[in-house]
């Protein structure tokens, strides 16, 4: 199964890289862009066909390594359909 895990900074956590990108977009004339937050995407291939089991395992993967839950949230999407978010 294919899964896409997104890891993003929690709201309220300062994102200097996002701010720099936002500033660059403004200088390119995209005045309508009011906020940019930078995150990470992991495309993960996982064995088996049980979506619930895969989702549970990926949640453990996020908690164990992919996200630092002090400052980051993660979202899991399996096979292009909606998955769990935390």
């Amino acid at each position: 199964m294919q899964a896409r895990v997104s890891v993003t900074l929690k709201s309220g956590v300062l994102d200097p890289q996002g701010k720099a990108i936002e500033g660059a977009l403004h200088s390119l004339g995209h005045a309508g862009v009011t906020s940019v937050r930078q995150g990470k995407i992991f495309d993960v291939t996982i064995e088996g066909t049980d979506r619930a089991a895969a989702e549970a395992e990926l949640a453990k993967v996020c908690e164990a390594l992919l996200a630092n839950t002090v400052i980051e949230d993660y979202a899991i999407v399996i096979d292009g359909n909606g998955g769990a978010a935390a």
Binding site: V13, L14, P16, Q17, A20, A64, L65, N68, V70, I71
Partner: protein, 227 residues
């Protein structure tokens, strides 16, 4: 004092800290590879040195924090053993749960490499007793992710319990605006664990132990550990 320096792939200040320990104690510290599952018998001090473990992939310190040797370091700390975590080591210690919070990207996005003044906030810990309280020392900083952040409760707990070991400041000890190299919360440069046996700090005291090479203000930390 028996010291063991944990070596992860990509660290580069392990020999600097070995030299600082050797100068202070006359004894050669052990090097422990990250795949080991124990520290040498009788280890008093475990050191997580500076550098770029695993190329800073994923998040600084994240992968090193999950390496086999870190279970032994956590057990050592739980027994009350001392842990000195410098720069990338501080990031590893936070990721490993030895210290609270996280080191984020410097607020201005620049890698900062310079001599920085610090105020010694506590001089009654195993790491700082050779200093005077409030003493201002000058040591190098060299990092891109030293912006200490934690939730409000954690910051309040750290401040309330006097667990801030060092703060960035100006030459006179003032934590004035503009002296912070990274935007760190409350100008925090180093913090202690609840039992004061783990110190994490972004600056490099190990690179300020000889007058010929940039000053001796870091020496007090290593002298403290020998006491």
């Amino acid at each position: 004092m028996k010291a063991a320096i944990v070596v992860f792939p990509g660290v580069n200040r392990d020999r600097d800290v070995a030299r600082a320990l050797r100068l202070a104690s006359g004894a050669e510290p052990a090097s422990v590879w990250h795949t080991e599952t124990s520290l040498p018998d009788g280890t008093d001090l475990a050191v997580l040195p500076g550098g770029f473990s695993y190329g800073d992939y994923l998040r600084c310190g994240a992968i090193a924090a999950r390496s086999p040797v870190m279970d032994a370091v956590r057990a050592h700390a739980a027994r009350g053993g001392r842990v000195l975590a410098i720069c990338n080591g501080f990031q590893v210690a936070c990721e490993a749960g030895l210290l609270p919070g996280v080191l984020m990207r410097n607020a201005d996005l620049h890698f900062v490499c310079r001599i920085q003044h610090l105020s010694v906030e506590r001089a009654d810990t195993p790491f700082t007793r050779a200093y005077a309280p409030g003493q201002v020392i000058a040591v190098p900083v060299a990092h891109g992710e030293g912006n200490y952040a934690a939730d409000e409760d954690t910051i309040a707990r750290l401040e309330g319990a006097g667990r801030v070991a060092f703060r960035y400041c100006g030459p006179e000890g003032d934590p004035a605006h503009g002296t912070s190299p990274n935007g760190s919360r409350n100008h925090i440069a180093g913090i202690l664990s609840e039992r004061l046996n783990v110190l994490g700090m972004m600056p490099h005291p190990e690179n300020a132990v000889e007058a010929l090479a940039g000053g001796e203000d870091g020496k007090g930390l290593f002298d403290s550990l020998m006491g």
